[in-house]
Amino acid sequence: MNVGERLTDQNFPESPEKATLEGKNKFLGFWLFLGGETVLFATLFGTYLGLRNSFGKGPEASEIFQLPMVFAATIILLTSSLTSVYAVLALKENRVKAMRGWLFVTLLLGLSFLGLEIYEFIHYVHEGHTFTSGAFGSAFYTLVGFHGGHVLFGCLWLSTLLIRNSGRGLTLYNSPKYYLFALYWHFVDVVWVFIFTVVYLLGKVG
């Protein structure tokens, strides 16, 4: 079977994302890439933990963090993880429309998260908590900003994927692409859970 051919319910494989060697390679390679990403964020977290009380000329963490807004952002991002799970479930059953619908919701949630984060950063800058106000500021914006950058990249990636494959069904060629995006999105969510705990909760009470 040609990898570019649209899959039907009759010839739909158990795991279309891993049905070809290319798919298997991408699947494994992406998991390994996420392993590397883990070290990347671990280094950022380590740096942040080392500098989180070095406020320099800026305000202290407990003064500026607004938990309600961060909580809203957390709920939005976690929900987007759930919708991407629904998308993958639909992918495994060849329900293309449902899959694309859920991914579209995921994209909207991702963009709303980004909007909130930008609003939050602007708010902090007005409070005097900037990238250059102290070691804490540098570490905060680098860690949270790296995560935000990952969300932004994910949104661009997902948009490309949705536009490119509009009107095309699932194939052995594009199934791994959808699946890998979901993996990436879960990873970005998990990182946020750690940021919420280590940066915001610890900043508020630690």
Binding site: N25, G29, F33, T43, S54
Partner: protein
């Protein structure tokens, strides 16, 4: 597309767009070799300056620049790419694969390394090279004036991304692309070491990526990570650097262990002694390599508990390394030894590396390290493991695999001259440096006073460096002679044992006409002993699927190269620098977009265009 491939000419366009692991291996070798010559030249300048007390040949900041660039170039731009050259040229063949798992990424990894290396070296012509040592300790690196350190950060960031991509590629290749029957415990030891090295790259390089980002943010965007007056902490840089930097040492040496294992086994006509112990030792060294980074920081003042733990962990690495040394000796023991140039380098490697290992254990003793730290004793130690270990291993690999990579055998007579001049020169250069260090000569200083008794040993050391230069020139001469006058050899010139010798010369584009069936360790040797003329195939001759060439990796890397310039001149270049950043990153993103947008299914070489049957390697 397939017509373009049928006329597979060796044109420039073909080299820029190739995704063939064999060609990418050659690209890595040529560019890594070029940077090796530059790094060697810098070493020679250092040794000329230190030839006599109070010399004025190369002083002050210029000396610092040459010293920094020597270390940085040798580690990141010479040693790593030459290792990747071998991994590309050999690993897919050793596991019976037709290409790597991600041919496109393979090309991208090379071009990122290449443009990163070029960017770093352009600093010489644009206001001065980095001058804070290859370790770029803060706050020296954050406060160093000029753009040198910016070139260091951006150049290595781009090159490092390429290395990470390469590491992931080889992990997936080795896990997913092995021929039928090639179980993990039947993989040749070079493939095993490439596998573990790739794993170390995956988990070590992201730490460096972040380290470079922090340093870049401090320098370019006025962040305060390492600025103590704003609450920053320069020790964080040391931790991050060595969390990467110590695994990096094993990233470098493990493939050399693999090469030595292949060479010693082939030229003793024996199966590698203690194969499974060798595999286990490789894995253990890789694992322990992550537990020892703070032995570079004994004098920082982390306290006796931390120092003791890291000292013990460091000494523990001597055990698996010792296992390897004994296994090589036992492989040679009772073998039909042929002293080809490759084997001379391998046999020379064994005692030399042991000496580097012994000083390593001495340095691991934390209290004693307070005496050795930042002295020439350390310089002697790491040159014994990196030059005496890795570089001798790379030379062995070059003489061994040259016929596989280029179809011609390097001249053995010149090769032996190459070995003896380089080997004697090496010991002459670095052996006296142990004693210079014990006598108190600090590393990185551009001179030393008269009357301290340091002059004669420094002079001997410089003479040794000239011998090594002669050895290197002989090697370059050997390459020229070989390509001008050498004859094509058979596909199996050494009576090899592993799959890379089972194919005709020159290696077909698709490597294996039929995927081989592997029936044990030393797969080819098993077939030879069974009286077979070629490998037993695992499949009939059929259509072969191959990846398409692409120019995108080249353009994408060029984009990041341009953006790198923009960041380097961000504080001085004004609007032009900003334009470079936006255009450069834009080019990179557009290339990623195109890669996602354009369906790329590869192409097939059809059965009718293939030879009727597998001829093997003229055994």
């Amino acid at each position: 597309m397939s017509n373009a491939h049928a006329a597979n000419k060796s044109s420039l366009w073909d080299w820029l767009t190739t995704v063939d692991h064999k060609k990418i291996g050659i690209l890595y070798l040529i560019s890594g070799g070029f940077f090796f010559l530059i790094g060697g030249l810098e070493a020679l300048l250092i040794r000329i300056q230190l030839m006599k007390p109070e010399n004025t040949f190369l002083t002050g900041d210029l000396y610092n620049q040459v010293l920094t660039m020597h270390g940085t170039t040798m580690i990141f731009l010479a040693a790593m790419p030459i290792i990747f050259a071998f991994m590309n040229a050999v690993v897919p063949l050793q596991i019976g694969a037709r290409d790597v798992a991600f041919p496109f990424l393979n090309s991208l990894g090379f071009w990122l390394f290449f443009f990163g290396g070029v960017l770093l070296n352009l600093s010489w012509f644009l206001g001065g090279a980095p001058d804070a040592g290859w370790t770029a300790y803060a706050p020296l690196s954050t406060t160093s004036s000029g753009s040198g350190l910016d070139f260091y950060v951006l150049g290595l960031q781009i090159a490092g991304a390429g290395t990470l991509i390469g590491g992931i590629n080889f992990l997936v290749t080795i896990i997913n692309m092995r021929a039928p029957g090639m179980t993990f415990m039947r993989m040749p030891l070079f493939t095993w070491t490439a596998f573990i090295t790739s794993g170390l790259i995956l988990f070590a390089f992201p730490a460096l990526t972040i380290g470079f980002f922090l340093l870049m943010f401090d320098r370019v965007f006025e962040a305060n990570f390492f600025d103590a007056s704003m609450g920053g902490n320069p020790i964080i840089w040391e931790h991050i650097f060595w969390i990467f930097g110590h695994p990096e040492v094993y990233i470098l040496i493990l493939p050399a262990f693999g090469i030595i294992s292949e060479v010693v086994s082939t030229f003793s006509k024996k199966r590698l002694f203690g194969y499974s112990a060798m595999v286990f030792a490789t894995v253990l060294i890789g694992f322990l390599g992550f537990m020892v980074w703070a032995h570079h920081m004994f004098t920082v003042g982390l306290g006796p508990v931390a120092n003791s733990i890291f000292a013990v962990a460091t000494m523990a690495i001597a055990i698996p390394t010792g296992v390897k040394i004994f296994n090589w000796v036992f492989t040679l023991w009772g073998g039909q030894i042929r002293f080809t140039t490759a084997n001379l380098f391998a046999v020379g490697f064994i005692p030399t590396f042991v000496m580097g290992g012994v000083t390593g254990v001495m340095l691991a003793a934390a209290p004693a390290d307070y005496q050795y730290h930042d002295s020439y004793f350390v310089v002697a130690h790491f040159h014994y493991v990196i030059v005496g270990g890795l570089v001798l291993g790379l030379f062995a690999g070059l003489y061994y695999w040259y016929p596989r990579m280029f179809g011609k055998m390097l001249n053995e007579t010149i090769g032996k001259w190459n070995f003896w001049t380089f080997f004697i020169g090496f010991h002459l250069t670095f052996f006296p440096q142990h004693f210079l260090g014990l006598m108190g000569m600090p590393r990185r200083y551009f001179t030393y006073p008269e009357g301290f008794g340091l002059g004669s040993m420094n002079f001997i050391s410089t003479i040794g460096a000239f011998f090594m230069t002669i050895g290197t020139i002989l090697f370059v001469y050997n390459i020229i002679i070989t390509h001008a006058k050498g004859k094509m050899v058979s596909g199996d010139p050494w009576d090899g044992r592993t799959l890379e010798w089972a194919i005709p010369n020159p290696t077909p584009h698709y490597n294996f006409l039929q995927t081989p069936l592997v029936r044990g360790l030393d797969a080819l040797w098993i077939e030879k002993m069974a009286g077979n003329k070629k490998m037993t195939p695992a499949e009939p001759v059929g259509d072969i699927h191959m990846p398409n060439n692409s120019i995108l990796p080249f353009i994408m890397s060029l984009g990041f190269f341009i953006a790198g310039f923009g960041f380097i001149y961000f504080n001085k270049g004004g609007a032009l620098a900003l334009v470079a950043i936006i255009v450069g990153l834009g080019i990179g993103l557009v290339c990623m977009f195109l890669r996602s947008w354009i369906d790329d299914h590869g192409y097939h070489i059809h059965k009718k265009d293939l030879p009727k049957e597998d001829k093997g390697a003229d055994l």
